[in-house]
């Protein structure tokens, strides 16, 4: 059975491109575009890796990550965070919130693929 990635991102064309490259690599990709109910979605889907954008409608990626880390049921999930601002400050906030990897837009497809593979192998 193929491993599952959940992508939470609100930009449709980014969703399409990332879904395509991960599916082609053999991953089962699920997507979601709203921050407000993202935590429930994660707990329902139980993915092997989570890709989480920071700027989401409803709730920020940082808040979603903190809630996941506080939940003993799901806190071991590997998380890759995506952000459009690459300042050290953002990286710090993300790391303090407990992300496993961090990428700034615009990223390359190869980097995303490599990072997701590495996170799943952990």
């Amino acid at each position: 059975m193929s491993k599952q990635v959940l992508l939470i991102e609100d930009e449709p064309n980014i969703i399409e491109a990332i879904s395509f490259i991960l599916s082609r690599d053999g991953w089962s990709v699920k997507t979601h575009s709203n921050g407000a109910d993202a935590v429930e979605m994660v707990k329902e889907r139980r993915p092997d890796v989570l890709i989480l954008d920071v700027m989401l409608p409803g709730k920020s990626g940082y808040d979603i990550l903190r809630e996941l880390r506080d939940d003993p049921d799901i806190n071991g999930l590997p998380v890759l965070m995506l952000t459009a601002r690459g300042q050290t400050k953002d990286r710090e906030i993300a790391e303090r919130a407990g992300c496993d990897a961090f990428m700034t837009k615009p990223f390359s497809n190869a980097d995303v693929l490599e990072t997701v593979r590495a996170l799943a192998a952990k």
């Binding site: 980014i14 491109a17 459009a84 601002r85 837009k105």
Partner: protein, 438 residues
């Protein structure tokens, strides 16, 4: 202690004016001509008995040889020296430099002022980039679109077979996203262009306001007539200013006109003729508060006053909101002044008038009398604390023997030589080698 006046230059000027030869003056003062020559070129410091002797030989008051209007120039040169971490031995020769190369010294001081202004504007721009929500949103939008284009384009560019249906989808996505990117970047460029022309790039609003008053003076005849219209004057003086500076200007002009109506110019002239630059006399004559009287004095034409007067107004946070400096009592352009000024002391005891004779530590002679009061602003509201604003009127004070305490104050800490000062908030470049009191 370094003396920051060009005493030597003044001695030379006086000597030439009286038509006295250098050797003759040296003889009368009982020193060698070569030593006098060094003094006249500000290469030797002079004070005490020798100064009195030379003044006597020239037939002038000793004080007139040590006073001058170079304070601002020397202050700027010292600022420049601080940023360059000039050794103390060099710093002690600042007078000599200003005296021997006045043109170069002026140029250096101007450059120093420009650098300060530019630093300020860089800070303002950085602030804007970090905190402007529109800018942040536009950049985020652009980066997201670029990411989508890059991902889709690299899928198409990479080797390997892609089904025609996916190819079409990614082609269409790239096409759509590139159109969106074009829109966002166009609107961003437009936004930057507009904000650029609006907020006249370099200066803080307060600086722009200062520049207006420097140019037209502090007395505005157009606001002295009974039918004076603030809006007309504001439109005239506010040309080319940023929105923020226009707002400040408007506020200042409204106050000016209110004061001018309560204290008409001809009556003020009578009051000043009777009692000089005395804010108490003016307030009593017109039955108004002291701060209004101070503002009125600062805005009167200088020819009806015994001497020009200065004014500083600060809000409860100590930030200067209005500045009228005097040649011998400069007010710092950026940041706050000396915490010993009555201006700030008044904030601690509102409604009490603080009067102090001040002598700036960095200067050899000039004295000023400061009148300060901190008064409430705005309407009183039941159960609410009021906000205070402090005014300080600065009146030149003749130098004479007095039983009053003469307070030694500074301009700003960095260029103040006052050795043991509890109000110090920054080390001085003038006492670099002295042990610091912590």
């Amino acid at each position: 202690m370094p003396r920051d006046t060009l005493t030597g230059s003044r001695i030379r000027e006086r000597r030439v004016m009286t038509g006295l030869k250098q050797s003759e003056l040296a003889k009368r003062a009982d020193i060698s001509p070569s030593y006098l020559n060094l003094i006249e070129h500000n290469r030797r410091r002079i004070g005490g008995k020798l100064l009195v002797d030379i003044a006597h030989a020239l037939g002038v008051e000793p004080g007139s040889l040590t006073e001058g209007a170079e304070t601002a120039l020397l202050a700027n040169l010292r600022e420049a020296a601080t940023s360059a971490e000039m050794p103390e031995a060099e710093l002690a020769r600042v007078e000599e430099f200003a005296g021997r190369f006045p043109g170069w010294a002026g140029l250096l001081a101007d450059s120093q002022r420009k650098i300060e202004t530019l630093q300020h504007s860089v800070e303002a721009l950085t602030d804007r980039l970090t905190h402007d929500p529109h800018l942040a949103a536009s950049l985020h939008e652009m980066l997201s679109t670029v990411t989508a284009i890059r991902s889709a384009a690299s899928i198409l560019a990479e080797p390997g077979v892609i089904e025609p249906e996916w190819q079409r989808r990614f082609n269409r996505n790239i096409y759509e996203d590139s159109a969106r990117l074009a829109d966002t970047s166009r609107s961003l460029a437009q936004y930057l262009e507009e904000s650029d022309s609006e907020a006249s790039e370099t200066n803080a609003p307060q600086d722009e306001l200062d520049a207006v008053f420097q140019k037209v003076g502090f007395h505005l005849p157009a606001l002295e007539t009974p039918q004076a219209d603030v809006d007309t004057v504001a439109a005239d003086l506010g040309q080319g200013l940023s929105q923020a500076a226009k707002w400040l200007l408007q506020r200042t002009l409204v106050r000016y006109r209110t004061d001018a109506r309560r204290m008409p110019l001809s009556d003020c002239a009578d009051a000043v003729a009777a009692s000089g630059s005395d804010p108490f006399a003016l307030a009593a004559r017109f039955g108004c508060d002291l701060a209004s009287a101070m503002r009125r004095l600062a805005h009167l034409p200088e020819d009806i006053l015994p001497d020009p007067v200065g004014l500083a107004i600060c809000d409860g946070s100590g930030v200067t909101t209005f500045r009228k400096p005097l040649p011998e009592f400069p007010l710092p352009r950026l940041g706050a002044g000396c915490a010993l000024w009555p201006l700030y002391r008044a904030l601690a005891r509102p409604m009490m008038v603080h009067v102090a004779v001040m002598q700036q530590s960095a200067r050899a002679a000039a004295r000023h009398r400061g009148f300060a009061i901190s008064q409430p602003i705005g309407q009183a509201v039941a159960g609410e604390d009021v906000l205070f604003e402090s005014h300080m009127l600065i009146v030149p004070e003749p130098k004479r023997d007095t039983s009053e305490t003469v307070r030694r104050v500074g301009l700003t800490c960095r260029i103040c030589p006052h050795p043991d000062c509890d109000a110090r908030r920054e080390p001085s470049i003038m006492v670099a080698s002295a042990p610091r009191k912590l």
